[in-house]
């Protein structure tokens, strides 16, 4: 680097920067009152409010002979967007749009029918659903500020299984085909699943924390004697999986 370059370029630059620092003003506080004090039109207790939510629920209702499940391992995971339209301080209408995955861990015992009588080390049915729920919201504290508060929701939800899978897992005593000892099978596009099902649901919310209970009102499995004929036991429809699930949700707001 030449001396000329330093004198002509670097030093003037350094000088300009240092003078700029000396001469400059620092704005410590700047408030635009009109911009800040506009009427709040959005928020949890305003006319329309929308937020994301996460949820987990567990199968809780009674199971049926032939389709017993392992409770605690049969669960439902949800992510969705919830919108509510405030009608009054007491009442609102709402819409849930969500994805939820229901997994039923099937009990491996004699008399098992779903989806066949084979017994495995582990067996699951999974339903990946897109769902839309319509609900009524009743606020329990009507005089509140701009937050959700405590509420009761009562609504119906339509589930459309976009993917259904049946998974089995077995560990062999001896190495089997390909010298592996674990066998996992996965069957998709299950034919015995209805195109859609619907549920009624109840929620008790404490601002962002919500307790949920959902009860499926329609059948999960189709009724078709031809589909089950190969079993030779006169089965025309699988025994239904538990209709009731209970869980919690977290509102992301």
């Amino acid at each position: 680097m030449s001396t000329t370059y330093v004198l002509k370029i670097i030093l003037p630059l350094l000088f300009a920067v240092s003078v700029g620092e000396l001469m400059g003003q620092s704005v410590l506080l700047e408030e635009d009152v009109n911009a800040d004090t506009v009427e709040v039109v959005k928020g949890p207790n305003k006319r329309v409010f929308s937020h994301m939510y996460l949820g987990v629920a567990f199968a809780a209702g009674p199971d049926s002979a032939g389709s017993r499940i392992n409770y605690g391992k049969s669960f439902d995971i949800t992510i969705g967007r919830r919108t509510k339209w405030k009608i009054s301080s007491f009442y609102a209408l709402g819409l849930d749009l969500e994805y939820h995955m229901s997994a039923f861990n099937l009990a491996q015992e004699a008399g098992k029918l779903l989806p066949n009588d084979s017994v495995h080390d582990s067996e699951r049915l999974k339903f990946h659903n897109l769902a839309a729920g319509f609900y009524n919201r009743f606020s329990l504290n009507t005089r509140r500020g701009n937050y959700i508060g405590n509420f009761i929701d009562l609504g119906v939800r339509l589930d459309v299984p976009i993917l259904s899978t049946h998974v089995t897992e077995d560990e062999l005593d001896r190495a089997g085909y390909n010298n592996g000892r674990d066998i996992k099978t996965k069957t998709t596009d299950l034919r015995f699943i209805t195109d859609f099902n619907y549920s009624g649901y109840f929620r008790l919310g404490f601002n962002k924390y919500v307790l949920t209970a959902s009860y499926r009102l329609s059948d999960l499995f189709i009724s078709d004697s031809n589909l089950y004929a190969k079993y030779g036991n006169g089965l025309t429809k699988y025994p239904e999986l538990p209709a009731l699930s209970v869980g919690v949700q977290l509102g992301l707001h």
């Binding site: 000396l22 003003q25 700047e30 635009d32």
Partner: protein, 536 residues
């Protein structure tokens, strides 16, 4: 099957749309205020009811001693409502109201009484607050050098020596404090001088309905110390020789439905027992209200605070700690026009501390009114602590206000309110972060103080207004570098459109293009105690 499904779906929708939580409403108790249409004097004797200091305050302020607002609620009305409601709690003389716990059906019955004007639900939202439980202290009073600097500045910033050198320490003033508990105040060395002189006149816990307030949240202990504490001979607050009424009105952890009710009960209790000032470091915000409700009229506590002012009491309230939250603005009752709202400044920067709530009110009145340090050394139950919040700015200002009032006992509460604003370091300049700034004791002690000399020139041309700092007085490359200049733009409606604080590093500090401002709006600039304005 399909038919059954459709039927059940339709039935569910119909049921859910028609459903109301009747079972909930009928079985679940809610708290309500029952407002009565009228009341009579009956056997009310103000001389028996009020503390002598309350009588004196009324006489001094030319307030009627026997006023209907102080008459008790009509007993027969209370009895009739009590016969229906599940439970009755506090009767408010000022609002001619009774708080009750009742079901919806009971409320319908009560509302039908001809002597009932209205039944309104009480606020029921809870929020957590700080919680420090008291233990028998082995008191740690030693503090670091940095903490000692803070301890000294929190009163020196208000020119405390100007009061104390003249032995003005709040003598004869009675201060009521509404808070969440006062653990250790009965044993804490920071309050030894108060206990020794029996200057804690009365205490009452409005939650447990008992006199013992020396437990629960330590917040009240911290607050009292900022008004009147002394530790190792060093003052913590200014009114070290005032008298005190200590009221526990908040749970400190979770509100059990009725802080608003407790606040009302406490303010009437404070009035009855002769309070001259009330310090309240609570505020209700988004859990209960919208910012549009912060108009000083909507909330019952704001109306109660204004009523206290009409009884001659000077009410100071923390502006709130929502300055950096979505809420941003002061809560209630700091929004009430007769409440002196106190904001906070930072110890290090000496201007608005980030969390201190901003004004104005929703109807565009200036708040906060004044400010004090929003970080302070306070007496905790077991040790001296550094604490942040306008909860501590407010009692620092309350201690100041008691001393200020001592210098002019003939002044009414609202006259003192105005004087406290005028004593602010920026007065007549103001903004919605600082109000009129930190009050200065010299205003009250040196009443013939000379007007502040000009510190800058305001030059105008056809196109611009410029501000030039006085070179003869200030060395902006030396000790005055970074000195703060405040300016705002006030519109023709009388409220601020914009306001700024800038650190000055050049003499030609500000050039404003006239074309950028509406005709009639006012530029007001404050620098080093001097304020000048220009109307566009």
């Amino acid at each position: 099957m399909a038919y059954q499904m459709r039927t059940s779906l339709v039935l569910l929708v119909i049921f859910s749309l028609a459903w109301r939580p009747l079972g909930y409403a009928q079985s679940n108790l809610e708290k309500y205020w029952v407002f009565f249409t009228d009341k009579e004097q009956g056997a009310f004797d103000p001389y028996a009811y009020f503390d002598q200091k309350a009588i004196e305050r009324r006489v001094k302020s030319n307030i009627p001693i026997n006023h209907p607002s102080d008459w008790p609620v009509t007993f027969s009305y209370v009895d009739s409502v009590a016969a229906v409601a599940t439970k009755t709690s506090h009767a408010s003389r000022w609002f001619n109201a009774l708080s009750i716990s009742a079901t919806t059906n009971q409320v319908e019955t009560i509302a039908a009484f001809e002597f009932v004007k209205a039944v309104e639900p009480m606020m029921v939202i809870s929020y957590p607050a700080s919680m420090v439980m008291a233990e028998k202290p082995t008191y740690k009073s030693s503090i670091s050098t940095a903490e000692m600097k803070l301890l000294m500045k929190q009163t020196a910033r208000m020119e405390a020596d100007a009061f104390h050198d003249k032995n003005i320490r709040g003598q004869g003033l009675r201060i009521a404090i509404f808070d969440a508990g006062f653990p250790s105040v009965d044993v804490n060395p920071a309050f030894e001088h108060i206990r020794a002189a029996n200057r804690i006149i009365k205490t009452y816990d409005f939650l447990s309905k008992k006199e013992n307030v020396y437990k629960h949240s330590a917040h009240g202990c911290n607050v009292l110390s900022c008004i009147a504490g002394i530790i190792n001979g060093q003052r913590i607050g200014l009114a070290t020789e005032a008298e005190f009424l200590l009221a526990r009105t908040e749970s400190g952890m979770f509100e059990p439905f009725s802080e608003e009710e407790n606040w009302l009960a406490a303010v009437e209790w404070a009035d009855k027992n002769g309070a001259d000032l009330i310090n309240s470091s609570l505020g209700y915000t988004n859990n209960r209200y919208f910012t549009s409700d912060m108009d000083g009229k909507t909330s019952l506590v704001a109306r109660a605070a204004n009523m206290a002012a009409r009884k001659g009491i000077l009410v100071l309230n923390a502006a709130g700690n929502d300055g950096s939250d979505d809420w941003k603005y002061q809560g209630t009752p700091a929004d009430a026009d007769s409440v002196l709202s106190v904001g906070g400044i930072d110890f290090n920067t000496d201007f608005h501390i980030s969390f201190s709530s901003f004004g104005p009110t929703s109807d565009k009145r200036m708040k906060p009114n004044i400010c004090a340090l929003g970080v302070a050394m306070v007496a905790g139950p077991k040790a001296m602590e550094k604490a942040y919040g306008t909860s501590f700015a407010s009692p620092l200002a309350t201690g100041f206000a008691a001393c200020a009032w001592q210098t002019d006992r003939e002044a009414t509460n609202m006259e003192m309110f105005k004087k406290l604003e005028q004593s602010g370091e920026f007065y007549p300049y103001f903004d919605y972060a600082h109000g009129f700034g930190v009050p200065q004791a010299s205003f009250f002690v040196n009443k013939s103080a000379e007007p502040v000399a000009s510190t800058f020139e305001m030059n105008t041309s056809n196109f611009e207004v410029s501000i030039e700092i006085d070179k003869a007085q200030f060395d902006l490359e030396g000790e005055d570098a970074g000195a703060m200049l405040f300016y705002h733009i006030e519109n023709t409606k009388g409220y601020l459109d914009k306001y700024y604080v800038i650190a000055v590093r050049t003499y030609n500090v500000l050039q404003l293009n006239k074309a950028d401002f509406k005709k009639g709006s006012t530029l007001r600039v404050h620098f080093k105690g001097y304020t000048k304005s220009y109307t566009f």
